[in-house]
Subunit: 215 residues, 2 copies
């Protein structure tokens, strides 16, 4: 099973590099139920600490619910814009940062530390979102992660209990086009870091001497 | 770019389903530097909130460092075993849960919320670990996530500053064989949940009526 041809390897890397977060260009075409289940099933097969599979996936189509989430987004966006100075503030406010209402479906990924009993082998993190992201790419589905939201609103609106953490709020749908670069790179908000800038050797901050041949 | 053939899609799903966390069977064969860089670069291309790329990757080969980390593991394992009753305690203690010393290289993934300035668009999470995991699979590299560790020991040993969070501690290396199922599933510690058990519709706990055709 763990024997991959060069073509298979290339397919994976192609998916990883063409994967893009999407906020614009959502079309009204619904997502085929089988494709959606393939994506969810793949995310569910992501690694989890102690095989705890601590996630739940809440699928949201209801317009009223989405409007409440969108209101929270608008409020948080305005609030957070005050934390950044001009000229970046206007730039930030001008960006389209979500597709809550236009996308085919919204998906809230949650983390429940008590899911499989009180004793879990090890601490937890949620790599499922990385897997979703790559699967959406190969399925031709756009996915946009909305992070400017209040967890309180998510809890209230989706009836998520206090001990459960909303980890990601994703908007999924077909799009009229995929960008080749992240929107925030294209707009000059932040540059792509070179991979050797994020690698340290043996200790924090150590090993900037590494000459990475890739970027 | 976002046009994938059936073969390419299948390659990705093959990688996701054959991906396994590895704790045993590490061989002494070193990881080719180019393969390691391909994996790190792919992880670096995971999505990040506000394009903040908040991760760093600390590569650890030094044996003294690894011995300190392993000591922390042993201590935490003993400590946490007291939280679980017999007969599960003995079962837990009998499991091999890490390959810190035997693997070719250790990798600590960190999250630095201040990385790209104090104003980040949105909150953060680290999907990079999910991407690593799939890349290791296609490269024939075993990866084992060690989560029974004290963050304090990781900070002390790797000189990680207080504002940075160690997210994952991974052991990477070639292995003599890959298992087809998660070790903790094989040993009967926990079952694989069915995907429809983790899906809710519109609200938390809602929609158990969905008949999922996949598992």
């Amino acid at each position: 099973m763990n024997d991959f041809s060069e073509e298979e390897k290339e397919s994976l890397y192609k998916a990883i590099y063409s994967r893009r977060d999407v906020r614009s260009n959502f079309t009204s075409e619904p997502i085929d139920e089988q494709i959606l289940m393939r994506i969810l099933k793949a995310g569910h097969h992501a690694p989890s600490v102690g095989f705890s599979q601590p996630w739940n996936f809440i699928l949201i189509k209801n317009t009223e619910t989405r409007k409440k989430i969108k209101e929270s987004f608008e409020k948080e966006k305005t609030r957070s814009s005050k934390l950044v100075e001009e000229p970046r503030r206007s730039k930030y406010l001008s960006y389209k940062l979500e597709g809550i209402l236009e996308s085919a479906i919204n998906l809230c990924v949650t983390y429940d530390p008590t899911k499989t009993g009180s004793f879990v082998i090890g601490r937890s993190s949620i790599p499922a979102t990385g897997v979703f992201s790559v699967c959406c790419a190969v399925e031709g589905i756009g996915v946009g992660w909305v992070s400017i939201l209040s967890n309180e609103t998510l809890r209230d609106t989706l009836h998520i209990p206090d001990h459960v953490v909303p980890v990601a709020y994703l908007c999924l749908g077909h799009v009229s086009k995929f960008e080749t670069k992240p929107d925030l790179e294209t707009s000059g908000w932040l540059p792509r870091l070179k991979v050797d800038e994020v690698i340290y050797h043996e200790k924090w901050l150590q090993g900037k001497e590494l000459k990475a041949t890739v970027q």
